[in-house]
Subunit: 441 residues, 2 copies
Amino acid sequence: MYSAYEIIAKKRDGEELTQEEIKWFIQSLIDGKVADYQMSALLMAIYLNGFSTKETASLTDVMLYSGETLNFNVDHVVDKHSTGGIGDKTSFILAPIAAACGVRVPMIAGRGLGHTGGTVDKVEAIEGFNTSLTLKEFQNTLEKEGLVLIGQTGEIAPADKIIYGLRDVTATIESIPLITASIMSKKLAEGAQGIVMDIKVGNGAFMRNKSQAKKLARSIRNTGLRFGRNMMTVLSDMNQPLGNTVGNSLEIIESIETLKGNGPKDLTDLSLHLAGGMIHIAGLAKSHSAGIRQAKEALKSGKALEVFRDMIKRQGGNPKVVDDYSLLPQATHHHVVTAPRSGYIKKMQATEIGLHVVSLGGGRHKATDKIDFGVGLTFHKKVGDKIKEGDPLVTIHHNEDQKEDVLKISDSLIQQDIRFSPKKPSTLPSLIYETETSWCH
Amino acid sequence: MYSAYEIIAKKRDGEELTQEEIKWFIQSLIDGKVADYQMSALLMAIYLNGFSTKETASLTDVMLYSGETLNFNVDHVVDKHSTGGIGDKTSFILAPIAAACGVRVPMIAGRGLGHTGGTVDKVEAIEGFNTSLTLKEFQNTLEKEGLVLIGQTGEIAPADKIIYGLRDVTATIESIPLITASIMSKKLAEGAQGIVMDIKVGNGAFMRNKSQAKKLARSIRNTGLRFGRNMMTVLSDMNQPLGNTVGNSLEIIESIETLKGNGPKDLTDLSLHLAGGMIHIAGLAKSHSAGIRQAKEALKSGKALEVFRDMIKRQGGNPKVVDDYSLLPQATHHHVVTAPRSGYIKKMQATEIGLHVVSLGGGRHKATDKIDFGVGLTFHKKVGDKIKEGDPLVTIHHNEDQKEDVLKISDSLIQQDIRFSPKKPSTLPSLIYETETSWCH
């Protein structure tokens, strides 16, 4: 028999835990035989003393099998996951593109909490869109239609919810093995045969620096491989919002515009890069660049837009939103923030920008908060852009009773969140820092 | 305002916590605003990243003031504390000796749990001895009589009980700063002006090696000094039982015999060393050796024995036990374990010896277990002694229904717990490894 004390002490002393010890500990936590205060001591020991690839795989394994697991009866099933950023709406673009190219895309997405928004919240800006399918319906739809999007369910990796809840209040979130197990247990349970992982790096992301992000990428690839998945990890920039909009309806509109070929360059490029990766690791393109070429074609031909329209219809939403944005919730008022001086935009504070949208009601401080789909921010200029005093910088989409909030946000944007420079910045953040592919066979 | 998360994260990152942060965290734990799983994450971070002398003093301070604190209206108040060992009954000898020399000795002692016995359990072998005085009665008796012995009360440093309970199940016991704060918060709350700390080192002690024990000694002295106490730390051996007996009545009898001048050398020497230290740091002897000389005199003259007798009487026990040991609970049966071969005793496993007494009923596996005062072990030989095959080694004092236990213990003693050698061991453990004195002014 195992003892919680001995297992904690072993990790405390920097030794490697066996698969059986990890399995027993987590199973006992779920069964209530190991207390949460013992788990949090172990989490801190893991945070400080590390967890090997083998230990991480063992933890992922027991978390993965703590709930339902899906197994699709079709091939080319590839999912994409992002570690979360401001204005990140690539899912709505790359999923239809990849599906249009023959990839089967099973998306189980999250809701927003704190400074980042959630894919499920955004898609629910489309009235009637049903993200609460059963896992059976989810599987059937994927196998038949090749594209489906639902919200996270308690049936998938319930252990992650318990453990994440503890990490969140014990300062043990930012641990690469724990992040890996949390993400991968859910993604593996969801049955994808390949996974493209978009790891955001920068001041609006969970990973603030590249070296940490690279370590996370390696850890995620290694864990995916151990479970027989084809893996692609992409490190992409999150030092400013992705695309020009932040806010639920606004981001849906921007996604549709991108599917129509009118999207901003950064959002379009990253979506194509990730979609191309999905096509490639699904085995439908010989190289990543060949995958990207197919993705571009699906975008250009309008096929991806049609796939998106079909998904909306299938999941209970009104497909006419694609042509008539007035069908989406909209804020009643607009306030344009203008450039206080001429020069260049040098930098943005992406987390603060995300928090402004939360404060307008477009996101959540706590899980039970309601979302106002219409509010948000539109950026008319991005990092590196030349500006003249008085140029429109940001439009704040708000409601009538929010004039005070708007003044506060406006001040904060100009004085802190957007940094100006009289000269053109010599270096600008790249959009994509690194792409690594690992094949499981 | 402080946040539990930020404080845990700060210690996780190896930074020093402020006094205010530590105070807020522990106070919030007591008030139920910080959860036990957050405390255990912080405990593991302290265990692994350390705690400075200043942080340790801050933790001690908030734990100390979590309950009642005593302040005596008399001088020369010095207490002794031991980190716990097998057969450690020095309190019953050194307290009357020091009191006979003018030291005022306020003892708040513990009960046994696990392999070590407790002073309170031992003294309760004397029928009627009341260890449950109120703190007011405790203070009055100390001030009037100069010697009093009671059991730990929930009024003193209640935070320690909460924190110790968590450490005990999260593998965070063996942390020098946490041990320091636990011991010192109680000792400082108990109002002694000087403290002699007997830190046991060896296979029967909490501290298994000297370097750790030295660190603990330094940490305890430093913390005592910060609170204006005169401190003496003594590192003493715990690789075999102290004296010849282990078990409650047996140890009371051995203590009285020692007070009569008939005690075993190790027990007598250590008791005089510690009593001499108490006399010295109470300011009643110019040097430690002068203190030891006074202690010897108090022992030799019989004055210490009379002080012990008076204490028993005052606290409701029958003082006649001092002259008639049959008034103490005794085991009904005896089994003598003999030497399996001739040679020398090379080593003993003190923890296992302690656990045998627990298994006979002389100690506790869990806090609610009842104690059988009569059972125990008498050692006829100690480490380094020459033995002939068939010599009595150990007498097991037991009850009629314990014959199976006796066989098991007998086997274990001969085959594992006592190690033999054909030749005289070249090195024997010293009784006292180190003595350090620190004056607060």
